[in-house]
Symmetry: C2
Subunit: 126 residues, 2 copies
DNA sequence: GTCCGAACTTTGCATTGCAAAGTATAGCGG
DNA sequence: CCGCTATACTTTGCAATGCAAAGTTCGGAC
């Protein structure tokens, strides 16, 4: 059990996995979620607007955490790296998203509470 | 303009403000959003499940970024620190949330795309 | 007057994100 | 054949930062 009881700390959001909760990695996970067949290094770089170095590093982190599977092979004769979400990666990302969604909902509710701009956020529409 | 054109990098999410995008600080911002009248140091500590040291540090960061207003005073004769969101803080948090919401929506859509668990996430219900 | 606890702040360390430089190979111009 | 640029990554170095442990200050309780 977490050191700080969740009942007493409703805003601790300790389900926010450190490995996933990172700007760049969030983009990567989302990209990979949208492309379950896998994506090439260059594609990810483009999609997430990352430099080669950063992408390499973040992929390494995700791989070591077992969230993505990185396959280094050759396309013709040039190196070609492909990445896919692992089963665990997908599951953990969904867990993460559930927490994130709760956060957005909490904040949106709080934002709505006090007059002013009632629905700056499109969430919770219906 | 950002170095990487957003058109070419749909998953860069570069609207995710570094100062806000941090587990602990996210909790703080959400707490403060829910309590526009302000919260005491001890309250925040409890709500977010933070240690004294971490709370102090994060509040300092948020204050220096102009997102929260920290008022150090005395309640009776003991020190008493109160925190409120600034106008800019509220605005920037809402901006942040909008991006976050887009991310959750992107990911949820991607998750739904390929059979399996169709609505693990409660978002996009209707 | 000393012990304890509340309410913070400061310090130190170990992690980590990021960018610049490095490696390797393919393809092309001359 | 010999550079030269481009592609496809990896490695390195540094500066920032989150976190916990220790420090500080002050107010009662005893």
């Amino acid at each position: 059990m977490p050191k700080t009881d969740v009942n007493n700390a409703p805003f601790s959001y300790d389900g926010l996995d450190r490995v996933i909760h990172e700007k760049a990695r969030l983009g990567l996970m989302t990209s990979l979620m949208a492309h379950p067949k896998g994506l090439a290094f260059a594609d990810l770089k483009q999609l997430c607007g990352l430099t080669d170095g950063n992408l390499s590093r973040h992929l390494q982190v995700l791989q070591e955490a077992g969230l993505v599977e990185v396959t280094k092979g050759y396309e013709g004769n040039r190196p070609h790296t492909t990445c896919r979400l692992t089963k665990a990666g997908r599951r953990r990302f969904l867990d993460y998203l559930a927490v994130l969604e709760r956060l957005v909902r909490d904040a949106a509710k709080a934002a709505g509470k006090e007059g002013a701009a009632p629905s700056r956020l499109g969430i919770l529409p219906a």
